[in-house]
Symmetry: none
Subunit: 204 residues, 4 copies
DNA sequence: AATGAATGAGCTTTCATTCAT
DNA sequence: TATGAATGAAAGCTCATTCAT
């Protein structure tokens, strides 16, 4: 009888490389029990490795949290870049952007939950990095709103900044009420929220 | 020679009764450094008492957190009860309710920050209590929206539940961007957000 | 049968107050196994308390080390102050001072061993404090040498600074060779070393 | 096209053979941050290799420390052998020996610092080896002193053992005060300290 | 000769909570 | 009503060392 080969893809869960596995289980645990409610021991146990292994790949528990943030944020930012630079009126592109950020947030709900619950626990320097990335998203989104105002499509009496705070608040809170097994798909929620946003912005 | 009386209102800062003082400083510290980032020692130091005193008034650190939640929630709930039962069309009352929840949230920003950041750290039984109170707020708010839909004032193609999730998300995130020393007063933010909500709901 | 009363002075070693007991056993352990070779667990086990108790009295393991330093240093400094201000020629007072620093160092040999082996492990700010205290000792001692040079008793061709470095080196190394159960008493070593110092300084 | 040869003296800083480079950087790091304050990772990083390489050449971190000791000690021992067997009176040879041990110690100050700070961290068997070598140095030095006493040049009322402890203490502490960029050269310090020693020993 | 992923035991420190007074 | 010494469990992190390659 042949010995189980070491690179087995069996159910021991050793499929994926250690580094990614760690990030994956950490995300799940952070979302379930919070950042401070999850110990490094919990993470490495769930990943089937030892602490030393984790510290081989990540400088600290904070680092792990930062990576969770970073991955979703940069994906959403690149989507927004593409959409903003694409064809269509300001309203059309804002609709696309709004629907996308809702949809991708719901597709990565665990990350979002972690993100908006734990940001304040990062050390200052990492918080600054994250805020800068979020600010870039905010500003890009705001530019779309301003385009629509300039075009006369959107009402001019509410500052674009406030509008963006308003809508991104909605996005950031998705984790607090959305349940994947509920009646609405991510895309449907995206469409409905886009409707509410555009309706609120529209000139009569 | 008279001894300094213990209940002195003098410069030791011991003005308010110990119990309230503890809740007050706890709220501030939780908002600044997070629930888990604040130690019982921090709290009692800031309140100028010792641990024993805190455990005399509150059963645990969790208790303190729960009290923070409870106070604002019950105030907002009683406001909503009053407004909903008051005069005016559904739209008028929804406008009042929306503006009120934004305004009172901004007036108690520290509590809101603590609330939405730390809820998940409470033990399950306390979380259940809090969720029930929030659910009552949600349902009452939703009833106002449904009234407006029934009256033909609001569009019928977006479920009232979704609308409430949408708007309360905005409220719950106020702490993440509003700065008291910024250009807008709580009332102004309340009006603008109410505009965006009603605009999004309005039938054309 | 009567229960053993809690404030027993029995051989459980709980005689002295916890705070002093901790300092005492820490000194002994640091001297035997080095600062980094001694764990906080070792210390509290030897003192018969728990870690929490230690951190109640001392801010850190470093703090404990600093206290060891501080106690002997300040005793020696006060001795030197007294001697320098006392009666007698410069030579007589230098003899007294030299004999005293040797004697008191040998009487607190564990502290000296810890001191000169572990100083460099303290955080910078604490090192600065210690160095300042040592510098004060050095300077006071040097003043005595200079007095003797001015009086023509001591040779003028070797700077007082170098002489002090020379003699304090001898003192600082006592721990590396002196054994309390050896043939010489602390006072005898003090006298012999004083002879060697004064002989080396004397003008012919 | 020729491949870059591996033993290149190029800008990678890989000039010296790995084994010596490791010893060299280890000495420097031990002197700067202490033995326990220096991790194997620190050493191999500074040497530009990996841990595996270090464990290929040295059995352990302790081994590295022992090598540092051994090198200087054996050099000084061979100098002393030469001097003692050389020409001149006992005083002349003692002067030479004293000046030499000060000078060579200052020329290898890092090693001395490491030596006298970290000896106690070696495992017992290695400590025994080192102590034996030091004892041989001590005894050889002591023989010179005894020669001078027998010749009537040095005072007979202070045991040679004590004298050697006295002077080697001075040598062993050089690292605690000497600064290479200070006013005195190693040779000058050697001469001054020799003066102080011989003066202290001289019969009047 | 050299790599670097991984181990596992150990470290210092923090902290909510208790309890005798 | 309030103190503060003391507990004990758990936390994040470090590090010398091993070993398959």
């Amino acid at each position: 009888m042949a010995l189980r080969s070491r690179e087995s893809t069996g159910r021991t869960g050793n499929r994926t490389p250690v580094k990614e596995r760690l990030l994956h289980v950490a995300t799940r645990l952070f979302a379930r029990h919070g950042f401070e409610g999850t110990s490094v021991q919990d993470i490495v146990d769930a990943a089937g490795v030892t602490k030393g292994a984790m510290y081989h790949y990540y400088g600290s528990k904070d680092d792990l949290l930062y990576e969770v943030y970073h991955q979703v944020l940069s994906m959403q930012l690149s989507h927004l870049d593409e959409i903003a630079a694409g064809p269509g009126t300001a309203e059309q592109r804002l609709r696309e952007a709004a629907a996308d950020v809702v949809r991708t947030s719901l597709d990565n709900l665990d990350d979002m939950i972690v993100f908006f619950r734990s940001l304040h626990m990062l050390p200052d320097d990492k918080q600054v990095q994250v805020r800068a990335e979020r600010r870039r998203y905010h500003d890009k989104f705001k530019a779309l709103v301003e385009e629509g105002v300039a075009a006369g499509t959107f009402r001019a009496d509410i500052s674009a900044d406030i509008v963006v705070h308003y809508f991104l608040s909605v996005v950031n809170q998705l984790g607090s009420w959305y349940r994947p097994d509920g009646p609405l798909s991510p895309a449907e929620v995206g469409d409905l929220f886009t409707e509410l946003l555009i309706g609120g912005l529209a000139t009569r």
